[in-house]
């Protein structure tokens, strides 16, 4: 079973379009991390969310944490080819165990 479910598994969008990736936990979240892997490179840390309702932005990428829904969403505005890659969420669940989602593959068509 997967403690963290990411959706969608893959996404193909036209350049300039907005998109959202979701990360849902089956248990209480105690902090959620978002990462990105560019093709052929390692994971890049994007941001960390700790409190319910917290929202952070990094360039055109915004992430929110909804503690009640046990969910985080990652939103990209006006996508660019440079946004292509695999997006991965990771979370401290129940305070003593860290889990990762399986990732969402994003392709941006110029």
């Amino acid at each position: 079973s997967q403690e963290l479910e990411q959706s969608p598994q893959s996404l193909i969008v036209q350049e300039g379009k907005n998109l959202t990736i979701n990360c849902t936990s089956s248990k209480t979240l105690y902090g959620l991390y978002w990462y990105k892997q560019k093709y052929g490179e390692g994971l890049i840390f994007l941001m960390m969310l700790q409190k319910g309702g917290e929202e952070k932005s990094h360039e055109k990428i915004t992430a929110k944490l909804d503690e009640k829904k046990q969910q985080s969403s990652l939103h990209i505005t006006a996508s660019q080819p440079s946004h292509a890659g695999i997006y991965l969420c990771g979370a401290d669940i129940s305070g003593n165990q860290f889990y990762f989602g399986t990732g969402t593959s994003l392709t941006v068509i110029p």
């Binding site: 093709y39 390692g42 994971l43 840390f45 695999i86 991965l88 165990q97 889990y99 990762f100 593959s105």
Partner: protein, 113 residues
């Protein structure tokens, strides 16, 4: 369906001691990775391997060594433990790069005192 298995789950080391973190995957994945995660810092890549017999350094390789004699196993060796190596270590695997997702192990919490 074991996936990626990491052992041990917890370990306390004294400064200067050595240890090996074990990682095994049963999915026949070519790519394997070792990451460390420090609080609030995100994952950092230590070493990775694209196949048996091939390893390469990541972002933070100093103080660590790896080997990949088989597709299944990718152990991480700490030769002279230092307090700066106190962290949570994750092993991961993937079939390849690009659109393939990761499978992570459950992590090893290491404290060096």
């Amino acid at each position: 369906n074991a996936g990626v298995t990491q052992t041990p789950k917890f370990r306390i080391l004294k400064i200067g001691q050595s240890m090996t973190l074990q990682c095994t995957q049963d999915m026949n994945h070519n790519y394997m990775y070792w990451y460390r995660q420090d609080p609030g810092m995100g994952l950092k890549l230590i070493y990775y391997s694209v196949g048996a017999g091939i390893t390469d350094k990541g972002e933070v390789p100093n103080g660590y060594n790896v080997s990949r004699s088989t597709t299944e196993d990718f152990p991480l060796r700490l030769e002279l433990a230092a307090p700066s190596q106190t962290s949570v270590y994750f092993c991961a695997s993937s079939r390849g790069q690009g659109t393939y997702g990761y499978t992570f192990g459950s992590g090893t919490r290491l404290t060096v005192v």
